[in-house]
């Protein structure tokens, strides 16, 4: 699918991921007037009528809007996270189907994977076990968009696909978005105030697969252009790093020589996470290209340190 002459709705277009998607679409040559990014105060996508307005006369929908955040938010606002993410996605897909949208991208998350499956996480193992309970309201809501996409493809031939996106990082990510901006902020503040210790939640042994946002949106664009299958598709770096190593690299890049103090009484989520990248490589010829330290430097710079 050539995106240049398509009218594209990007939900969550004002957010971290959505903003980078818009930038990438512009780079691809999509005219600015063909990209629509309604803000939540204009359209409330939990309402069916607003979903209908949002998809009206659009060819492609990239659904990047989500209510998400760190562990604390997922714990304290579990019902809202469940309701908002589920209803937004389901109503938007239904409205898009009725409006004759040609392609719908649902952006899911690597947190949809169960805890205790073999590494790296393969798309075919997505349903093979229970989910991390703190994140379950978010991950189940997201997983339902996969089920939705598959059911609509089967009954209506509707071209909806589901991406399993790993943890992203990069410039313009809000500081409560994920571990990287949180670490940058804490270390930056400690350096400013002369603190010699930075406290970090969890044991530090949990691992993650971080994808630079520039690579992530390249992958999302490739999925939009080329991937038309029922099965979900991973977008990750395939590179596994522990939170401890990550914190040490960030501390080094920020010239912080104080102590990193891990608090094992605090939750750290899924114990290990790294995605199998074979499907995206085979189907889209996609591979993450940004060097991790280089990506971190860009991110630290954006945060003003």
């Amino acid at each position: 699918m050539d995106l240049k002459n398509k009218k594209i709705l990007v939900t969550g277009g004002a957010g971290f991921l959505g903003g980078h998607i818009v930038k990438k679409l512009l780079e691809r040559g999509v005219p600015k007037e063909n990209i629509f990014t309604p803000r939540s105060f204009e359209l409330d996508l939990r309402k069916r009528a607003d979903c209908q307005k949002a998809v009206n006369d659009r060819d492609v929908v990239i659904h990047a809007a989500a209510l998400t955040g760190n562990v604390e938010l997922h714990k304290s606002r579990s019902a809202e996270i469940f309701y908002n993410n589920l209803i937004m996605g389901v109503e938007l897909i239904e409205a898009a189907r009725q409006a004759g949208v040609q392609k719908f991208i649902t952006i899911g998350s690597a947190t949809e994977y169960p805890d205790n499956i073999r590494l790296p996480f393969r798309e075919d193992d997505l349903w093979m076990g229970p989910l991390e309970p703190i994140h379950a309201p978010y991950t189940v809501a997201k997983k339902m968009l996969l089920v939705n996409a598959q059911a609509y493809r089967k009954q209506y031939g509707f071209n909806a696909v589901h991406i399993l996106l790993t943890n992203m990082y990069g410039p313009s990510e809000h500081e409560d978005g994920g571990p990287i901006p949180a670490l940058i902020k804490r270390i930056g503040e400690a350096r400013k105030t002369g603190e010699t210790t930075v406290r970090i939640w969890g044991t530090g042994r949990a691992t993650r697969d971080f994808l630079y946002v520039g690579d992530a949106v390249e992958g999302i664009c490739l999925v939009t252009e080329k991937y038309d299958k029922s099965e979900p598709i991973n977008l990750g770096s395939g590179f596994e790093i522990s939170i401890k190593e990550l914190a040490e690299i960030i501390a080094r890049l920020m010239n912080f020589d104080g102590k990193l103090d891990f608090d094992p009484t605090k939750p750290e989520g899924q114990p290990r996470r790294v995605l199998d990248t074979a499907r995206a490589e085979k189907e889209l010829n996609f591979k993450a290209i940004t060097d991790f330290e280089e990506g971190l430097k860009q991110t630290i710079k954006w945060h003003g340190y």
């Binding site: 309402k47 069916r48 714990k75 304290s76 606002r77 579990s78 019902a79 809202e80 996270i81 469940f82 309701y83 589920l86 209803i87 389901v90 109503e91 239904e94 189907r97 169960p114 349903w127 093979m128 076990g129 229970p130 989910l131 309970p133 379950a136 309201p137 189940v140 809501a141 997983k143 339902m144 089920v147 939705n148 598959q150 059911a151 609509y152 089967k154 009954q155 209506y156 509707f158």
Partner: protein, 314 residues
């Protein structure tokens, strides 16, 4: 603490359906609830896929029993996975949100045995719900309802809202849907046999190999189980509702033929899917938590169902 139904304002969605009618009967006759205290929204008046309509029906209610669902047999599930997914997930999620917003004290939500993974170890324990993908033909329906279990726990955690989830097996009994497009296996078989007899046809054709197994719960027992849970159960863990008895489709078919005095041949159409290979629930949690045990003997229940169909066959 046990909930006493008398004096409570009760909303029963799907109250005009197969299960709903039996549940209302139990509420009124056995539990002494005044019919004025029970509200049953009808689909021509309220579309429970709309949030506004869910809000309307939840207003001033103390207890919500959400039975409304879009269901069908294997054929319907294969043909309409999109509708089954959308209708069920939106209805359940909007009811949950609306009931919470309206200040309802407790909501009972039904998931389904179809939520279980295709290859769950037998008997199905509630703890194994997340161990795999459901049988493909009913996955969108089963997964939509599996999501409610997570939703229930999310509302309980954030709002201390008393939501419970029950997982009933295949239900059967008088008043079931015998429409061949939508019916489940028991009414479908009864109808086939009755029609074969009427046409003096000496055989019936049945989908699948007959080797798949199922568990059936008599409709009045199901209603009793749901109401016991509504009265006594207040925990986040979902609870199976079943009879604890497994029967193969072949044995079921033969039993129905015998009870209906049909001596013709049973032809198995093995080109048609069996659905999930085996289904059989661990029913210990329901017994332990709220003292529920199915009372109706299977043949007795089948006879009542057959009699009902034959006297209501139009």
């Amino acid at each position: 603490m046990d909930i006493k139904f008398r004096g409570l304002k009760i909303l029963v969605t799907g109250g005009a359906g197969f299960l709903g009618r039996h549940l209302l009967d139990n509420l009124i006759k056995k539990r002494g609830v005044s019919p004025e205290d029970i509200f049953v929204p009808r689909s021509q008046d309220f579309d429970l896929r709309r949030r506004e309509d869910c809000e309307k029906v939840c207003r001033h209610k103390d207890l919500v029993i959400h039975l409304a669902a879009k269901v069908g047999g294997i054929g319907y599930n294969q043909e309409k996975p999109g509708e089954l997914f959308y209708d069920n997930i939106v209805m359940g999620t909007q009811m949950l949100e609306a009931a919470y917003r309206a200040g309802v004290k407790k909501i009972v939500i039904l998931a389904t045995i179809c939520s279980y993974p295709k290859f769950t170890p037998l008997p199905f324990s509630e703890n194994d719900l997340w161990s795999g993908y459901p049988e493909e033909t009913n996955a969108p329906y089963g997964l939509a309802k599996r999501a409610f279990i997570t939703g229930a726990q999310a509302y309980r955690n954030q709002h201390t809202f008393n939501v419970i989830c029950l997982l009933p097996v295949n239900l059967y009994g008088p008043g079931d849907n015998f429409d061949p497009q939508r019916s489940h296996v028991v009414p479908a078989l009864i109808r086939k046999v009755a029609e074969a007899k009427k046409l003096c046809q000496n055989y019936i054709e049945v989908w699948g190999t007959g080797r798949a197994t199922r568990e059936f719960l008599y409709i009045e027992d199901a209603a009793e189980g749901i109401l016991l849970a509504a009265e006594k159960y207040n925990n986040p863990d979902p609870v199976n509702l079943g009879s604890g008895k497994e029967i193969s489709i072949k044995d079921l078919t033969e039993t129905i033929c015998r009870l209906m005095d049909f001596k013709g041949e049973i032809r198995w159409d093995t080109s048609k899917p069996d659905g999930q290979p085996r289904r059989f629930l661990d029913i210990s949690r329901a017994k332990k938590e709220f003292g529920f045990q199915a009372r109706t003997d299977f043949e007795t229940g089948l006879k009542k169902t057959i009699d009902w169909y034959l006297t209501n066959d139009f």
